[in-house]
Amino acid sequence: MIAASLSLTILGAALGLVLGIAGRFLAVEANARVAELESLLPGTNCGQCGFPGCSGAAAALAEGHAAPTCCPPGGRAVARALAEKLGVSLDLSGVDDEGPKLAVVAEDLCIGCCRCVKSCPTDAILGAPKQIHNVLREACTGCAACVEQCLTEAILIQPVPVSLPHWVMPRPAAA
């Protein structure tokens, strides 16, 4: 009885010691991952994921509180990159990626209040007080942060119109 408990105790202690030493030598710092994850996110801090900005989302992803599909503006591409970094398998069926989107100002509704201009994370809205605002196509990410700000509901999120060089051949219909 004594021999049994003693030998198991010694065995356990010895193995624990070895593992403790190994753990000291093979330590991996954990903070690097959050930064890596954040670099994959759009960085516009639009807040559609429900976390405080992209860094908040990255922290939640690293801790496993958020799914790789949490970023709506990022679409499938970001979801795939995140899943790869996290090493998890991915169910893309929940992601509705209808292609890139764009904010469009309805000119007859805009009153030129400049609220949207301030809310835009990428400075994509041009406008001066009392003048109709305009969206810069190149800079708009379609994050929809401006939509809630608009008092007259003059901002619509629309898919980016397809042009000839950007046309994508449709997938063959399933047989």
């Binding site: 990022g74 591409a77 835009c120 400075d123 800079a139 397809v162 994508v168 051949m169 997938r171 063959p172």
Partner: protein, 511 residues
């Protein structure tokens, strides 16, 4: 010849039924200018041209309609004399039927060449750069279908110290015979154009590769080239896709162009025979590229043949000139049946790169009713790039575009051999085209996201800076205010003191 053995050692490619003959043997017809021409501004690889005319302006044939925009672009000229009726969007000759910007010309019926065109009696006296400049000014683009601006190719081959100019007379696409016809009828002009291109590109020799199913063209070209030692005519076996750049270079020179590099890096450059003719026209007569020889063919066409068509003529009008259709066409195609673009309807204009207009009758047009892949690997054997089309299509089908890219999707030249031989009628090229387009869209989205991230950072930095500046300003103001207050206090104290003093003084003074 060493490369012949090498060629027969290879097993890629296909031997499609060529359907060339009745059309190739008919004499060339010239289509009269229709009343209206729709000159697309995106007739070349690269950025669309920038209009240089105004609506209502009168132009002569050969006048500049649009200037090149950016480094890769080409000039566009008026195919006939007349009035600029409109500058606006028209349906593009493209399967999508999406709009493209075009200049609409109302022909005045004179078809008078512009006075400004400068013919050149001895272009060989010109420096090479001047030749490239004139070719650029004439808006010449690759006539084989890729429509890469030719002047750019000439200039860059000079920079890359190209030694061999390969002239592509392969015309391996079935149905098409315009290059064949051109070589038979205008071998002299082509050889002159080749020599001009040699001069401009600095290459030492030119090899004209012509498929051996065109004996008349080979004979005509040999005769025309006989007096010029630097131009060699070299028959190549008829096999699709031998007219493809990399394959043609491999067969003619034995050189393999590394993936992602240009032929110029291997000292080779490839031009089409039609381009040679256009260079000849541009240099000798100063005439810009405003019309082209194209093949009208296909089972539905009543009177197939080769026709000189002004750029901007509607496909509808071209078919009507060719004698109309005997039956309802099952499919309209611009280009050849292997790589050509299907047209949404016939009201699209002819562009510089259109080597043919095909109206296929029902039985001819492949309808890819997809069955299950049985992994027979016919496609692997046919692929001229050594890819695994079945595996790539399987990945695209399963939504794994990255997996397809890893298998070499980006090396695919979309020649269509795989889909042509597939016994299961799988539209392999469509899968690849879809995947390439979707990957490019993802790439654009990534670039966009990167740019947006920079903008967002810039904004947050700006906000931080503004906040800091505001704080600093506030602090300064506060400091100033305090200083002012302190000063005020001091002065007020002083004044109070003085006032008090005055007071005491006053007090002191007897009231």
């Amino acid at each position: 010849m060493g490369f012949m053995e090498k060629f027969f050692g290879l097993s890629w490619g296909i031997h499609p039924e060529d359907h060339k003959r009745p059309a190739a043997d008919a004499a060339v017809r010239v289509m009269p200018t229709p009343e209206r021409l729709y000159v697309s501004l995106a007739q070349h690889l690269g950025a669309p041209a920038l209009p240089a005319v105004l609506v209502g302006q009168k132009v002569a044939k050969g006048d500049l309609l649009a200037n090149p925009r950016g480094p890769v672009s080409a000039a566009i000229h008026a195919p006939t004399s007349g009035l600029v009726a409109a500058i606006g969007e028209i349906p593009a000759p493209h399967p999508s039927g999406l709009p493209v910007l075009a200049v609409t010309l109302e022909a005045d019926g004179q078809d008078a060449w512009s006075e400004a065109l400068a013919a050149c009696a001895d272009p060989f006296a010109l420096p090479p750069d001047e030749i490239s400049r004139r070719v650029a000014a004439a808006g010449v683009v690759g006539m084989g279908g890729a429509t890469f601006p030719s002047a750019l190719k000439l200039a860059s081959s000079r920079k890359a110290k190209v030694t061999t100019l390969i002239v592509n007379g392969g015309e391996c696409e079935p149905y098409l015979s315009c290059d064949d016809r051109l070589m038979r009828d205008e071998a002299g002009a082509i050889v002159d154009g080749i020599r001009l291109m040699l001069h401009a590109s600095g290459a030492k020799e030119a090899i004209a590769g012509i498929e051996d199913n065109k004996p008349e063209a080979i004979a005509a070209m040999r005769q025309a080239a006989a007096v010029h030692g630097e131009v060699r005519v070299c028959p190549i076996p008829a096999r699709y896709p031998l007219g493809s750049e990399k394959q043609l270079i491999l067969v003619l020179t034995g050189k393999e162009i590394p993936a992602g590099r240009l032929p110029g890096d291997a000292g080779v450059v490839v031009h089409n025979v039609g381009t040679a003719k256009a260079v000849h026209e541009a240099l000798r007569f100063g005439r810009p590229l405003v019309s082209r020889l194209l093949t009208v063919n296909g089972g539905a066409v009543r009177n197939p043949g080769n026709i000189v068509v002004p750029v901007g003529a509607l496909v509808e009008d071209v078919l009507a000139f060719a004698g109309g259709c005997a039956t309802e066409p099952a499919r309209l195609i611009m280009g050849g049946p292997m790589m050509g673009l299907s047209l949404p309807h016939a009201r699209v204009p002819v562009v510089k790169g259109a080597s043919g207009i095909l109206a296929l009758a029902g039985a001819e047009a492949a309808d890819h009713r997809e069955e299950a892949c049985i992994r027979c690997v016919s496609c692997v054997r046919a692929c001229p790039m050594g890819l695994l089309p079945l595996e790539m299509a399987r990945h695209v089908r399963g939504g794994d575009l990255e997996g397809a890219a890893k298998l070499g999707l980006r090396d695919c030249i979309a020649c269509g051999c795989c889909a042509y031989v597939c016994p299961a009628h799988i539209p392999l090229v469509q899968y690849f085209a879809h995947a390439k387009g979707a990957l490019a869209a993802e790439e654009r989205a990534r670039a966009r996201a990167g740019a947006a991230k920079k903008l967002a950072q810039a904004k947050s930095e700006r906000l931080a800076r503004e906040a800091r500046e505001k704080a600093e300003l506030a602090a300064r103001r506060k400091a100033e205010r305090e200083a002012a207050r302190a000063a005020e206090a001091a002065s007020s104290a002083r004044s109070a003191k003085s006032a008090a003093a005055a007071e005491t003084a006053a007090e002191g003074t007897p009231a």
